[in-house]
């Protein structure tokens, strides 16, 4: 039984930026099995489809899962209205996460907006060998900077409006960084156009790059084929691959960005 349906109590909840919430939920079975880059699927009130949320942290000992989410619509609004002590119906851990093999390698981690949370466990793995480049609309929307720093990673904050850190896109900051620094592997999660840009930079330099894709989901476990993204088949043919089972993390070279 690889998948678990668990009802967990919210034991902590904070609004870490306007409309963005950081919750810790007691889910001992899922927390024990979780891996960086995986996600869970949560019932939100009376809505039929579960909402997928990435795992931002997991503590197998305490049996807790950490998730950071933004209010984007009805379901996440419902979620944001839950309070400490309320319970959530959660299925997980789901999907194929990031591969973390050798923490002596130099890793660069690029996160855009609400794509940032699933990257935190990677920074924890690489510690001082990680450089984390994150981009947000504006300074007040920036999240998790202290967490990345606490993990020992170097951080480069970018904002679209220049209200904090580097004034510009993460891809620009990445290009600069790669010009002056060693890098063995790149991890990224965020808007599709950003990941596509990151992937192009990585591929141009022959650096391995793992991307975390997002798609609307049905079952969340690989059974319904609703959540596919375009990938390149063995012979280069375009094909559709399940984000929930074969992803959400893919080797950037597999992804067909224009599908």
């Amino acid at each position: 039984m690889r998948y678990t349906q668990e009802t967990g109590v919210i034991i902590e909840k904070r609004e870490i930026a306007p409309g963005i919430f950081d919750v810790a939920v007691s889910l001992p079975v899922i927390a024990k099995a979780a891996h960086a880059g995986q996600f869970v699927n949560i019932i939100c009130g009376d809505y039929l489809l579960r909402r997928p949320i990435s795992i931002c942290g997991f503590d197998p000992e305490k049996g807790t899962l950490r998730m950071v989410f933004e209010i984007r619509g009805k379901g996440t609004k419902w979620l944001a209205e839950r309070e400490t002590g309320d319970t959530l119906d959660v299925v997980g851990p789901l999907g194929h996460g990031f591969s973390l093999v050798d923490n002596t390698k130099k890793a660069v981690i690029i996160g855009g907006g609400i794509g940032t949370p699933p990257l935190l466990p990677i920074a924890k793995f690489y510690g001082g060998n990680a450089t984390v480049i994150t981009g947000f609309r504006t300074a007040s929307a920036a999240i998790l900077q202290e967490d990345f720093e606490a993990a020992g990673a170097k951080t480069i904050l970018c904002t679209d409006d220049g209200s904090a850190g580097f004034h510009g896109f993460t891809t620009q900051a990445l290009e600069k960084h790669l010009g002056n620094n060693e890098c063995d592997i790149i991890y990224t999660c965020g808007p599709k156009v950003m990941m596509k840009g990151v992937a192009r930079l990585a591929e141009a330099r022959g650096i391995a790059c793992q991307v975390s894709m997002e798609e609307r989901m049905g079952c969340g476990v690989g059974a319904c084929l609703c959540c596919v993204c375009g990938t390149k088949g063995k012979d280069g043919d375009a094909q559709f691959t399940r984000v929930c089972l074969n992803g959400p993390v893919f080797d950037s070279a597999e992804v067909d960005w224009d599908a």
């Binding site: 039929l48 489809l49 476990v221 059974a223 609703c226 596919v228």
Partner: protein, 303 residues
Amino acid sequence: MPDMSVNLCGVKLKNPVIAASGTFGYGMEFNEFYPVSRLGGVACKGTTLKERQGNPPPRIVETDGGILNSVGLQNPGVDRFISVYLPWLKKQGTAVIANIAGNTVEEYCEMAEKLSGTDVDIIELNISCPNVKHGGVSFGTSCESVAEVTSQVKLRSKKPVMVKLTPNVTSIGDIAKAAEDAGADALSLINTITGMRIDIKTRRPILRNNTGGLSGPAVFPVAVRMVREVYKRVNIPVVGMGGISKWEDAAEMMIAGACAVQVGTANFHDPFACVKIIEGLEEFAKSLGLSSITELTGTLKEW
């Protein structure tokens, strides 16, 4: 304890709950929640003669009480279904229903022939998929084409043939009768109702395929009505589906006339939906003192 088994055109199901085609893959994923041997049967993902990539994403959108999907029959083709997926599923110990969709009558027949040489239990003729350009739903909307595809497949199939009907028709009863007369061993319904949702910001359909098929609790009353209409019209077994999400719904569908039910969209909300429905039905049968769950079927007293 009530006997929960039902006989579906000669195939014994250990209980009347079948996972619906397209929502349950080949059972492998849900087998990571509970042994799929708990189920009466699994209707496999719609299979075509050749591999199909399906429609581009987004393929799903939530609506009030339902979802629209436009997967478009992505599947590895009937040969790989037979060599890779069927053996695994058959080994689990549940009835296996192969769901097939062709572009032409001949394609349906070829698949039926191939499946006749396997240990598939039942062939479900999907003449009702709204998400593909050719074949699919177009076979299911006229009595003539339903009769044609059914009778041809029957000539070439050694397995019982269950015809899956689309609700997108003026008279489901006429279509059902045409399938029965053409030799169908059983009928299943409803497939999805064609729908559309639009993103008012971009003024684009949310589904990349523009339209999709509506399923889930929203369609349940329509499904109950159609199952009832078909039950009154034919003498072959009817498998009811469409919006069943709890045992009460399954019981309602059986009372309307279904000898078994399929459960689709509900699996997305609650991966244990099928198991809970089986348990609930059993409790219900017990509380009524039934010796067999089949005693429910068609017991509706109309006004």
